[in-house]
Amino acid sequence: MKYRVRHLTEYKYGSAVTLCYNMAHLLPRDTLNQICVNRRLHVTPTPIYQTESEDYFGNPTYYFSIQEPHKKLIIDMECVYDITPLERSQQLFLGSVTCGELRQLLAAAETPELRMTKEYLMDSPLIHRSSDLADYAAQTFDDTVPVLQAALDFTQKIFNEFTFDPTATSVSTPVEQVLLEKRGVCQDFAHLAIACIRSVGLPARYVSGYLETLPPPGQEKLVGADASHAWFAIYIPDMGWVEFDPTNNLMPSDQHIVTAWGRDYSDVTPLQGVIFDGGESQTIKVSVDVQRC
């Protein structure tokens, strides 16, 4: 399946910004079942300095700075992806290790892979383990349950018990509050799932990207109606990182497009940085279109 993704970010400032330094996690990354076949990136005003690199997690990064006064910053990114559907059914039948076995394997940490996976067991800037979070997930991730099954159940549990509500949270709402209020958006659900899974001693990471949305039957698809999306992945020996989308209660196959992964949102913030002057009334507008092609 081929997709064309257009991701347009626009910042507007009350008065001119004279200088900015930004690190973006917007460039496409290739995965086992996804390659980027074409891409175009356009930043206005034209950066005086820009570099592309790769971060600690292997995500492509784009760093730029602008030195001319500007009231508007536009980052226009267009990519064409080719995605192969993941063959899941077989793996499901094979059965995976149980949660108890995985915990033991991690404690013993006898392979380099397991040792390095521990990074996703620890607290990270936006995710702190807690006993409340552990309580919420303990039964699902019981020692006897296969990890894959548990993750599926947990994805469904979040989907059933939480309400999607874009007004309930902000970028800084802590996971604990999301758990209490049982509302939020995809980023909250992904963070909550990761926090719970780490709290019961299993490794989980944050995945960000895009999702193709389909209009209601009989209606035209609206331009800019899609958006960036976030979900999580859990590590299962012999299977690697397996992804789950709690917002939509499914396992990503060929409708999810991955741009980056890390311990949490802070590792893969689409655009971070500082500006000088003019920032007192900044607004941001993001529009994303995902089209089959």
Partner: protein, 855 residues
């Protein structure tokens, strides 16, 4: 003479050991063997104590204190420019034999090499983690492991440029490492200052002991910093980056920057443009190639690291990542300080170097390992519990000092987060003689050693920073606060030959120094202004006191004018202006104008601001200036004492010392400062301020016509306050006419306090300032203002100015002229400040979007 020490026989040396010098139980004694005899390498020092005697030692102790204070050797300024804590130094050096040091040197070289390899591995291949040599949780959970710094591709063979190791001796005399400093290793500058002081007060002992010199180490530091950017340039621009004047170790930053010859900069002095780092200086932006940093990892770059930090340079990390600037130590090196690494050092050393460590580390147990945790909890009283992540807030728990409840609490804390704690065996440290309270005593001590990377490996400073506990029985502390320091002497068998510093290095250094950061210039400008503001205030205050308490009757009109002028000149308005009640009972207000440091414009407030500006540019002040500033601090303290219960009986008495000291300061700036840009801006600050205040003074005192006696009193007061009364009387006898006064105060070129004198000087200085190329045609705006003021003053008709205007009953022309001149001078300061100082507001964070979508 008192025989304090005798090294001849064990019998006489017991006189020393009776009290308070006690031979330690269960610890190594640095100076004496277990049977009470002096160790050979301590004999010279002990003999020196004997020959100096109590009084001689005490004199030297006081001299050392004085030198340290005059050198501005402070630690922890704590926002109070009046009472900085002077660096604590014990005059008795710590002596170590050359033979022993050679072993230590090798061990330290190996340790630094190892730490460099650990740094490279953690930020590169991560073999240590993959192979399980270091439990990966230690690194992954550590906030100092900066993933942004992974795979940075740094230049040079060694990435860890500076390394400091804290060591103590165990009971057998073996040195044991108890901690490492790799992020911003401090102390080398203090060690150098200690050496400077002690070699001055004990010169012959120092010389005869063949103490190894520190110069070669610092030359290596220079060479290394120069070579760091060899992939960019052969003549790199190097700066020392400090968090600022309120950093604990700011003295060291200033001291090292001066000693090494690099500009001292703060984050705001640097900016990233076109993918490179630049210093904002008087002549524009100057590229920076190497940064010796004293700013913690996380605060270095708001764009990628802690975004709300106030101190960093936004964009710095990316420049370093691309190799366009080299930072020493590299950002991210803080991770190496975790005590958790010490538990695994032998295995790490085997893995990365295939060698066993020569320098043993203190026995450390990482509580994240269940077995170790079990052991630690069982033997909690035997351990020091340290957080795995060292931060300014982190505190260690000393198990042996805890009671039952304390131990239970400690246990609960560890169990809640075992991976975050490390338990270390407590080593009390060896005992070292110190000179304390007029006698010889001893305390446990700690030695911080320093290394710097060179092309041939690591170079170890032959010496170090020895620290002793401040109170008997106190545990040794590993941070620099709350302890006393000592010079550390490595005793050689032969005298060391002095080395010559190559001339090329010196030239490069001079070229750099001439270009100063804008912030430095701005502080010097304000230093001059505040000094002048304080002096003019003091003079008028002194005159007021004399007149109010004088023998002659001082009528109400005179009183009103003089007191109102005081409110105007200090800017503490309304004050006495139009307040007859206050004018009749002026004492509390007068006392407040002198001593209320919280009140903007008061004399004390101006002096404090002046001292703060001085502190900001500490590295620019000469030794003599620092001495005068200390005198000033002393005078302020005695002023505080005199005014403790409000206005004293003879209120002007305690002001005299301050005026004299301020005069000494301006005299010094004239007589012994090079006419560089630093001097120029200080002088521009002074001259503008003096001109402004003189114009204000003339306006507020003389524009109101008074009856002749009162007029004479006021004119004389003004003349007295600007030290012109005697000249005036000589010139005009007793004819106290206002126009004569204006002649002397406004247009007399020979009077260094006249208005015209200030403006003419300003004209000279402003013409010498660097001008930008794209300046427009004709005179620059600042020149226009100055010429306008000069003309206004010179063309004024003095008799006309002294005339009273009928309708308003004021000397309106005088008032108008002085207002005009004040406005022009205010504009001048604005133009200079806009043109030469930096006005960038701090960076703001870009708002972040939230991934919001649903299907």
């Amino acid at each position: 003479m008192n025989s304090l020490v005798s090294t001849q026989t064990a019998a006489t040396s017991t006189s020393l050991l009776t009290s308070p010098y006690k031979q330690p139980v269960g610890a190594y004694d640095e100076a004496f063997t277990s049977n009470g005899a002096a160790r050979p390498h301590w004999q010279a020092i002990l003999e020196c104590i004997t020959s100096l005697g109590m009084q001689g030692m005490q004199d030297r102790h006081s001299r050392a204190q004085r030198i340290l204070r005059d050198d501005g050797a402070t630690f922890n300024l704590k926002n109070d420019p009046l009472s900085p804590s002077v660096w604590a130094l014990d005059i008795l050096p710590n002596a170590i034999t050359c033979a022993e040091w050679q072993h230590i040197e090798l061990a330290l070289q190996q340790r630094s090499t190892l730490f460099d390899l650990i740094f490279k591995d953690l930020y590169g291949e991560q073999r240590l983690l993959k192979e399980g040599i270091v439990p990966s949780e230690i690194i992954f959970a550590h906030p100092g492991f900066l993933r942004q710094c992974h795979n940075m591709n740094l230049p040079g063979i060694k990435h860890l440029t500076f390394h400091a190791v804290d060591m103590v001796r165990d009971q057998s005399g073996q040195f044991i490492a108890i901690g490492d400093r790799t992020q911003t290793p401090s102390g080398a500058g203090y060690a150098l200052e200690n050496r400077t002081v002690v070699s001055r007060i004990l010169p012959s002992l120092f010389r005869d002991s063949h103490t190894m010199r520190l110069a070669r180490f610092f030359q290596n530091v220079r060479d290394t910093l120069t070579n760091l950017a060899s992939h960019i340039t052969d003549s790199p621009r190097i700066v020392v980056l400090t968090p600022g004047a309120y950093s604990n170790t700011y003295f060291e930053h200033a001291y090292l920057s001066n000693h090494l010859g690099y500009p001292l900069v703060q984050g705001g002095d640097l900016t990233v443009r076109n993918g490179k780092v630049w210093m904002k200086s008087l002549t524009g932006l100057t590229q920076v190639d190497v940064i010796m940093r004293r700013l913690e990892d996380n605060y270095c770059d708001q764009a990628e690291l802690t975004s709300d930090a106030m101190l960093g340079v936004p964009g710095l990390l990316e420049v370093a990542r691309q190799g366009n600037v080299v930072i020493a130590n590299p950002i991210g090196s803080g991770i190496l300080e975790t005590p958790a690494l010490l538990s695994f050092l032998p295995q790490i050393s085997q893995c990365l170097m295939n060698e066993a460590p020569l320098l043993p580390s203190v026995e450390s147990r990482w509580c994240g390992d269940p077995e170790q945790l079990h052991y630690v909890l069982e033997h909690l009283a035997d351990f020091i519990i340290k957080p795995a992540h060292r931060s300014t807030q982190s505190k260690s728990l000393y198990g042996h000092t805890l009671d039952k409840e304390g131990l239970a609490n400690a246990k609960a804390t560890i169990l809640a987060n075992p991976t975050e704690y490390v338990a270390q065996t407590y080593i009390p440290g060896s005992m070292m003689p110190i000179w304390d309270k007029e006698q010889l005593s001893n305390r446990p001590c700690l030695l911080r050693a320093f290394t710097v990377a060179t092309d041939e490996g690591y170079c170890v400073m032959p010496g170090g920073l020895t620290r002793v506990a401040d109170f008997p029985g106190e545990d040794i502390v590993t941070n620099l606060s709350g302890s006393r320091s000592k010079d550390t002497w490595i005793l050689s068998d032969t005298p060391e030959l002095d080395r010559e510093v190559s001339v090329a290095t010196i030239q490069a250094v001079q070229a750099q120094q001439s270009n100063l950061p804008s912030r430095v210039i701005e502080n010097l400008f304000w230093f001059g202004r505040y000094a002048e503001r304080a002096e003019m205030g003091l003079r008028l205050m002194r005159t007021t006191f004399k007149q109010l308490n004088g023998i002659d009757h001082f009528p109400d009109e005179s009183r009103e004018v003089l007191l109102s002028a005081l409110s105007e000149i200090t800017g503490c308005l309304p004050g006495f202006v139009d307040n007859p009640e206050l004018t009749q009972q002026p004492n509390d207000e007068l006392a407040s104008l002198v001593i209320d440091g919280q009140r903007t414009g008061s004399i004390k407030a101006n002096l404090q601001l002046m001292l703060s500006c001085g502190e900001q540019v500490k590295e620019m002040l000469s030794a003599d200036t620092r001495i005068i500033l200390n005198e000033l601090r002393d005078h302020i303290h005695s002023l505080e004492r005199a005014y403790i219960n409000g206005l004293p009986a003879v209120p002007e008495e305690s002001l005299d010392g301050l005026v004299t000291t301020l005069l000494a300061l301006s005299g010094l700036s004239h007589e012994s400062m090079l006419r560089g840009m630093d001097w120029m801006f200080q002088e521009i600050g002074r001259r503008t301020e003096r001109a402004l205040l003189t114009a204000k003074l003339l306006k507020t005192t003389l524009s109101k016509p008074l009856p002749s006696l009162q007029q004479q009193q006021i004119l004389e007061s003004v003349l007295l306050s600007v030290e012109a009364l005697i000249s005036f009387r000589r010139r005009y006898r007793t004819q106290a006419r206002v126009s004569f006064g204006l002649d002397l105060l406004m247009i007399d070129r020979s009077n260094p306090r006249s208005l015209i004198y200030q403006v003419e000087q300003l004209r000279k200085y402003v013409n010498e300032l660097p001008h930008t190329q794209q300046a427009g045609l004709g005179l620059s705006p600042e020149n226009k203002l100055i010429i306008k003021s000069l003309n206004d003053i010179q063309l004024a008709d003095l008799e006309d100015l002294a005339q009273t205007e009928e309708s308003s009953q004021t000397r309106q022309n005088l008032e108008l002229l002085m207002t005009e001149i004040t406005d022009q001078l205010e504009q001048l300061t604005t133009i200079i400040s806009d043109k030469y100082f930096d006005h960038t507001a701090g960076p703001q964070q870009l708002i972040k979007s939230k991934w919001k979508n649903d299907v």
